[in-house]
């Protein structure tokens, strides 16, 4: 049947979508999704939206340094920093690095955690013992100091945050997915698949993974917020990449320029607000997922 081959692709897609299941029924989650959509669009089209290069030191028409401008002055929507950089452009470009860090870290955390959880829960025995002792070790590592140590041993870069998260934060995802796999493994249809000769790999991929994907996405969406927050903290503490514009970097810049003493609220409120919005949007979405996954929990 040639028609079947044509139909097959969208069916796979719709299967993926139905496995991912966006939480559109929950108003908070919808707000979160809208914020995320804005955030992603901003990040993707940063060069189109930002009026200036975020690191460029700007001058006024009189060839004075365009520093310390208040919002609205000289056409700078959110003003400029003490070094004469356009704050709005920095916010826009900061979205890009936040998205980059957030998505890669979330992907790593969800991916590694899911693999660990699947192997551990499905095979049990020494595989389980080994992976869960590793998880115990990861639980014992204090996260922020660990990121700082990694930064100290390598070039300052936003990827340090991603690496540190990948190395440490898979533990929660792994544990939760493991427990889910433990219960799925003894389901009748998994045993039936085994009796009919399905290999372990096939059982894991076709019968178990589709059921843990929403959980992976839940933990992934939590990790996005964590990653952005961590990157901001690291940058604020001064261990970030000085060449990459991020919201944390903007906060640090504001701090170094004594924003509070100079009452330059426009230096730190926009990046702070951006962090809060994106992180809480992530929280709303994961809350929506939780409702979808565990409808009986209630609130």
């Amino acid at each position: 049947m040639p028609e079947a081959a044509v139909i097959r692709k969208p069916r796979v897609l719709s299967r993926v979508f139905s496995a991912v299941r966006l939480p559109v029924g929950d108003p908070f989650a919808v707000v979160g999704l809208v914020i995320y959509a804005l955030f992603i669009v901003t990040a993707l089209s940063a060069p189109l939206i930002a009026p200036y290069d975020p690191t460029e030191i700007l001058y006024t028409e009189n060839y004075d340094l365009a520093s310390d401008l208040l919002p609205g002055e000289e056409g700078h929507v959110l003003g400029t920093t003490s070094l004469g950089r356009d704050i709005f452009s920095q916010i826009v470009w900061g979205a890009r690095s936040a998205l980059l860090v957030g998505l890669t870290a979330a992907f790593m955390v969800a991916f590694i955690g899911s693999i660990v959880g699947l192997l551990s829960g499905y095979f049990g025995g020494w595989v389980d013992a080994l992976l869960m002792r590793l998880a115990d070790v990861a639980f014992g590592i204090p996260f922020l100091p660990f990121v700082i140590v990694i930064s100290a041993f390598s070039e300052p870069s936003i990827w340090n945050t991603v690496i540190a998260m990948a190395l440490v934060l898979w533990r929660d995802t792994g544990r939760v997915i493991r427990s889910q796999v433990l219960s799925l493994r003894s389901r009748g249809y998994v045993e039936a698949a085994r009796v009919s000769g399905s290999s372990d790999l096939k059982i894991i991929l076709r019968h178990i993974t589709p059921n843990i994907l929403p959980l992976s996405f839940l933990y992934g969406s939590i990790a996005i917020g964590w990653a952005i927050l961590t990157e901001a903290s690291i940058s604020f503490l001064g261990f970030g990449d000085p060449d990459a514009i991020s919201w944390g970097f903007m906060l640090q810049d504001a701090f170094n320029s004594q924003a509070l003493a100079r009452q330059a609220y426009h230096w730190f409120i926009p990046p702070g607000l951006a962090i809060i919005l994106v992180v809480s949007a992530g929280f709303f979405i994961s809350r929506g997922y939780e409702n979808l996954l565990f409808p009986k929990l209630g609130r």
């Binding site: 009748g188 249809y189 039936a192 009919s196």
Partner: protein, 325 residues
Amino acid sequence: MSDSLIEMTNAQLHYKVGNSISAMMGLPSTVKAVDGVSLTLKRGESVGLLGESGCGKTSMGRVLVRLEQVTGGSARFDGKEIGQMKGAELQAFRSRSQMIFQNPFDAVNPRYSIRRTLEEPLSNAGIKRGEWHDRVIAALELVGLGDPEQFLERFPHQLSGGQLQRVVMARALILEPEFVVADEPVSMLDVSVRAGVLNVFRDVRDRLGLTAIYISHDLALVRYVCERTIVMYLGRIMEDGPTEDIVHAPLHPYTQALVAAVPTPHVDQSHAPLPIGAGAPDPRNPPSGCVFRDRCPLVQDRCASDIPQPRKIGTRLVACHFAGS
């Protein structure tokens, strides 16, 4: 080719339970789900495995389709130790031996259409994709689902329990196995559809010449399906023989209690009281000697020390020191 398909010799399946703390408190660390069971199934023979819940009948079935592996003794399929099969041999075993599960609602993946569910064994057995459709249709017809085309793209939640159990049976039979374990296949179904499913099972078994084990706690169902019955209690075989003999003249005191407990539709007829107590002992801590002795009306001192070995009495094997005397 030898005459017998299934051979179990002193087979044991002991589960480890508890942890270091319960061990320190002196609690036993194993549950003997199957403890020293020996039996032989001839090709084409079907046996009812009867016993109350927790007696190890399901565990025994799971051993025979290699969902569990014996921890002692041996369980052989067509002369080969089931637990030691590997690679191609195991793959071949998987298509020769199948299981029909108890709960049809749990035994099929809710995300899979009926077609996908039935295609899975075919793909595992390496059957060419071109044959799949015809095989699926044939299997659905075999289990009495008329107009099978209409079921192919449906999902489990769109089917009734009876229909779903037929699908589960179709999946077990689609590879034309020689041996099938049916684990209480009708216990989750409405009484009204049980007979239909049971008849399908009987017909298919006879038509394909299947060797079958029918696990149930219901003597009436076993009698309807199987000519031979094995009665289990706490992991051991109590009585083994032709079903009709067991129904009409049970020898083992436990079997006698089971037969007496079968309800009759005559509600005004008073029921003979059960000669045994109501509850089985903790399987972690079974009685010494004969496991049935603490509920047995015939109990004597000897029962606490000697494990009764199966004795041949007429057509039957009975594991009791005093039965029949």
